[in-house]
Symmetry: C2
Subunit: 279 residues, 2 copies
């Protein structure tokens, strides 16, 4: 857990939100977590684009994205390393699922300490559990980073310190993602990652990797994956905006090497690693 | 939508919660909505028991139920008709799905205006739509009234004023519930209501009805139901703690009479109706 150092609500330094906010009542909103490096939020365009996709999906309008961008840049300024968490909810609403006609979105920006991870996570890989909890299928919510995260909270309770991540399947047994990250498998020099049309979050590092793989001469395929694919893989990794990319050395008892392909990707996708900050 | 007249957070008259509350970040908590009649919260034991089941399922401890009970009674006192909404979250948490070791639950109590419904809803029945949105399956979350309600928010956006409720199916096509209520079908003088082991909320009126039906000489069965069962039914109704019991006159274009069996149940399960308040 990272502790919040400062919190702004609708642009004001202010640690509280109205108890009648629909973000609290129903999880009616979306969020983003951004790495801050040398005073700048990383991948800001991609994060704001995903935020917008989520807001559109939920039908939350009236979010001033240009001023949100300016605010995130201003909060990041002067911080060598930090994390920013942004929450946008539908706003106040009291009781009843029906969306109020005059809802005014609430935006919350938190500046957080940078989570430091041991360098051996990046060199030797991490250990992950296969979670018993299965994700429900919901195409209307799949892909976006909404505030309904009880599945992740319950899944995270399946281990303590003995693992660094957990692998989640959906209710039909398809592999979907890590509890806090996306997952990729390595098979015959090809990267495989689950299709997220019915469950899961489309992560920003995943998106970057899908876009960048062709330039790196790496084949990558988005497809349905099952546990057989996991056990037959020659390597695996998890990725998100704060961890970057964690090779996997153990997943549900299966041992993996860190293939050269994955070793190549680590410096490309770990924020600040190229500058030696994680070494 | 009902507007909140007063809000207490952890027992203090206070309209805001910390922005780092996990209720907001992840929907990490549960809620109850209670009818208040003649200064008393109705079915308080049943609501607190369901709250406790939800807290246990999520692993949220340290909730002082006795003082919560006393608080709800005290908030209700002096109000002839009102609604109480209670939210209990895991408490503050900043970032990360992992549950903080020292989490202190947040409890929020809202006193709300009583929602008045037209008397013809109870006499002639209401109109309901069959929602396109399908509920994801998750046995770990099914039954409890948790704060992850985006499915209901999205489903409620499928109609405006032309209907009073929407019927939800799960991702496998089983009928589960209304957007804000439970559903019962009438077939050959038997009541049928969906099994909620994989999706849905176990409502308090549903629970009372299941317990009371034998005393009323009514057969009731909890089972898997599909749209064929809906179209073959001789009647249907929705129920929750605030509406009581709404007979259905139209559901996805199917017209129903209000069977005598349902007419009998209305005064039993509509708060305050016996005293003529809804007539």
């Amino acid at each position: 857990m990272t502790s919040a150092t400062e919190v702004w609500v609708n642009g004001r330094l202010e640690p509280a939100v109205p108890a009648i906010d629909r973000g609290l009542a129903y999880g009616d909103g979306v969020f983003e977590t951004l790495a801050v490096l040398d005073g700048e939020p990383l991948d800001l365009d991609l994060h704001l684009a995903r935020l917008k996709r989520g807001l559109d999906r939920l039908g939350i309008g009236n979010v001033p994205l240009a001023s949100l961008r300016a605010e995130l840049c201003s909060r990041a300024a002067g911080h060598a390393r930090a994390a920013l968490k942004l929450i946008v909810t539908r706003g106040a609403g009291s009781r009843g699922y029906r969306v109020p006609a005059a809802a005014q979105p609430t935006r919350i920006v938190m500046l957080l300490d940078w989570p430091e991870y041991p360098s051996h996570y990046y060199e030797d890989g991490i250990s992950a559990v296969v979670c018993r909890l299965r994700l429900g299928l919901n195409p209307a919510l799949a892909g976006i980073k909404h505030l309904n995260r009880l599945e992740q909270v319950l899944a995270r309770r399946e281990w303590n310190d003995e693992h660094q991540e957990g692998l989640l399947m959906d209710s039909e047994g398809c592999v979907i993602e890590g509890v806090m990250s996306n997952v990729f498998l390595v098979r015959d020099k090809t990267l495989l990652t689950p299709d997220l049309a019915r469950a899961g979050v489309e992560g920003i590092v995943r998106e970057k990797l899908l876009a960048r793989a062709p330039q790196l001469g790496i084949d990558v395929r988005v497809q349905a994956l099952r546990m057989e694919d996991v056990s037959q893989a020659q390597g695996a990794f998890f990725c998100n905006s704060l961890i970057g990319l964690w090779p996997v050395r153990s997943l549900g008892g299966i041992r993996y090497p860190v293939p050269p392909l994955v070793r190549r990707l680590v410096p490309e996708f770990v924020p600040g690693l190229a500058a030696g900050r994680n070494s």
